[in-house]
Point group: C2
Chain length 391, copies 2
């Protein structure tokens, strides 16, 4: 797979206007790249924050509204909680932040990022820029020949693409860890593809699409490329304009970028718990928040209704939710409460309880990326909190 | 030079409390590091911003107060200006932001960062935590045997350390580019020291200290280590608490960090022009801003008085300012106006004009790091602007 340069591509937006060749870690300090790069250093080199105001107190414990939930603090401790925020009808009714983690601190969302991508794609479908029945290659010709080329947008949204991809977070030889390395999350190897564009083009199909749910982080990055192709803007720019600003989030979010500037849509967003709760409100609000429509009611209705249960087989999470499904980058439990959720490895959640109008956000740093025990404790926690609020 | 781990060091602060071993790009996603790392992803992986509010308009041109300055726009264009902000007695009287760069955008300061470090060291001297007459090794024993071990703090502040170090920005074999690679600003080589701590320990003396001014970026990083040693906090944390918060800057600044988390004090800060102007106000205010004292009047008086002119020899900038000197990480022109300044490669400036109470901030992306032509145009620009304000 040769590298896809901006010049060769009709779908890859430039990092900055008028770029003739791409910048890299060797050239960003040189003209003409420096003009853009000096204003975007955090995209090239890791950065620490020099705060301009005193950080909020960490170690918040305001859980009295949930006193009826047995073992609440034990469940939070046992699930390695960094933040736990319960809002009902837009008001915070309970919150917990571990010592050292403050309400205005950002936390990595991991795959909760995927569900935000789903909403963003929905806004583009609403505006007629994307038809979910069309193939990915019809928007991103460079994906032709890869697993994604002949997959429909809806198949990618629902993760029923048949792609040769091992989603094993702990195996250094897995596609997942290769994707991490290319994204800058792990040290590069010389043999790795240059960037995520090249990586996605190299993924091969291993069967018919649409037959089986296969959770695959690369699918979401393919959607991010689709977003860039139809807008000709970089993913973080489109996400800010169509979602983050319009939600009136209180703080900037960040998203990790690979050496080409491609944003890790599948897992790279960091934001505050309160801002993430607004994403939940948008969903419970049928696509509106505080009276502003952000995505269509129909998109949210479809998403909340869940996906095809029959294609979801042999999933660990089915021990908790036998009727679980995945639609538009969101999970549906299929349980009696109608809970829908976004989840990321190591314990990141947006939990929606339509019956009580409750949004729960949880940030965690569980040692295991995914585990049966982790699934069980979160299932119990969310179930008991929502039951306690059912009055 | 073996790597200096946190365990081996009495002066190197941990990235997060209670760390038993250090995290790296391979381990940050694993416990126990993940708890800290999931809240500090930008320190590990490059990140783009997902803005929460509409960015301010770029392309501001409000220069009418300087209509009397001949060729003003030509000088700004010819010096690759990204931002140009003139404040007098705390009020903006003229400003220019090029199309694409907005007043609330951050810009890399390059070596203007050094002058901010000088102020921070001053606050620690004021509080009795640092005696500038003592040697660096008396605070940082790990620097014993390096060029810095027997240098006094004042010699490092004034850059009269005799260190074998080639400050050549364009030579891949220079110490400067090695420091860049270790700082994460350029691709690493396998033979590079693991981090800036190790790099600094490996720098050797090549003569007697105090005899000659030698501009050396490593000196400022040695000061940052000193700051960490006497506070047992990381440099960005101390800088936020002692300077950025107390200045009441309007936005967070950022600073690049190396793989060990060591911040590039010598050149890695990015901030807005308006926030940087507050650093200038602090200096013109004799260490106070809006009635709040941040650093002692004595420290600012010494700094503004300039350094030893006799040790400054064979400097390109002497073509513009024959009596130039360097003190406490600030430059003094030695000219009749008494201009004192901070400067970074490619055209970054804080310019102080005590006679008119003027602070000028300039961000640029000149193709050359340093050039006689660049020095000349900036000297003319600042001189003519300050003259025009002298009425």
């Amino acid at each position: 797979m040769t590298r896809l340069t901006i010049e060769q591509s009709t779908t890859r937006p430039p990092r900055y206007p008028g770029v003739a060749e791409e910048l890299d870690l060797d050239s960003w300090q040189d003209a003409p790249h420096s003009q853009w790069a000096f204003a975007h250093v955090s995209e090239l080199v890791p950065t620490a924050t020099i705060g301009h105001r005193t950080r909020a107190d960490s170690g918040v414990d305001a859980l009295t509204a949930l006193d009826g939930v047995a073992d609440l603090r034990a469940m939070l401790a046992d699930s390695w909680t960094d933040a736990f925020l319960v809002q009902r009808d837009g008001r915070t009714i309970a919150e917990y932040y571990r010592p050292g983690f403050a309400p205005d601190d950002r936390h990595l969302l991991q795959s909760v990022s995927k569900s935000i991508c789903g909403i963003l794609v929905g806004t583009l479908v609403d505006d007629g820029l994307i038809d979910v029945g069309r193939t990915m290659a019809s928007y991103v010709p460079e994906l032709d020949g890869s697993a994604y080329g002949d997959a429909t947008v809806q198949q990618v949204l629902d993760m029923t693409v048949a792609v040769e991809y091992e989603e094993d977070y702990r195996n250094p030889e897995s596609h997942m860890q290769a994707q991490d390395r290319i994204a800058g999350w792990r040290p590069r190897r010389d043999t790795d593809p240059a960037d995520t564009y090249e990586f996605l083009r190299g993924l091969k199909a291993n069967g018919m699409h649409g037959r089986r749910f296969q959770y695959c982080s690369a699918d979401t990055d393919a959607l991010a490329w689709l977003v860039e192709a139809v807008t000709r803007e970089r993913y973080p720019v489109v996400l800010a304009a169509r979602v983050w600003e319009r939600l009136r989030c209180a703080q900037d979010a960040t998203i990790t970028v690979d050496p080409s500037g491609f944003a890790s849509a599948n897992g790279g967003i960091s934001c505050t718990a309160a801002d993430l709760a607004r994403v939940g409100w948008l969903m419970l609000g049928g696509g509106t928040i505080e009276g502003r429509r952000i995505v269509s009611e129909e998109w949210v209705r479809q998403t909340m209704a869940g996906g095809d249960r029959d294609v979801a087989r042999n999933l660990l999470i089915q021990r908790e939710y036998p009727r679980v499904s995945y639609r538009n980058q969101w999970w549906s439990t299929g349980n009696d409460r109608g809970n829908v959720y976004a989840v990321g490895i190591h314990g990141q959640y947006i939990w929606l309880d339509p019956q009580t109008g409750t949004v729960i956000v949880k940030f965690s740093s569980a040692p295991d990326p995914v585990s049966a025990a982790g699934n069980a404790i979160h299932a119990r926690l969310f179930s008991e909190v929502c039951s306690a609020l059912q009055d």
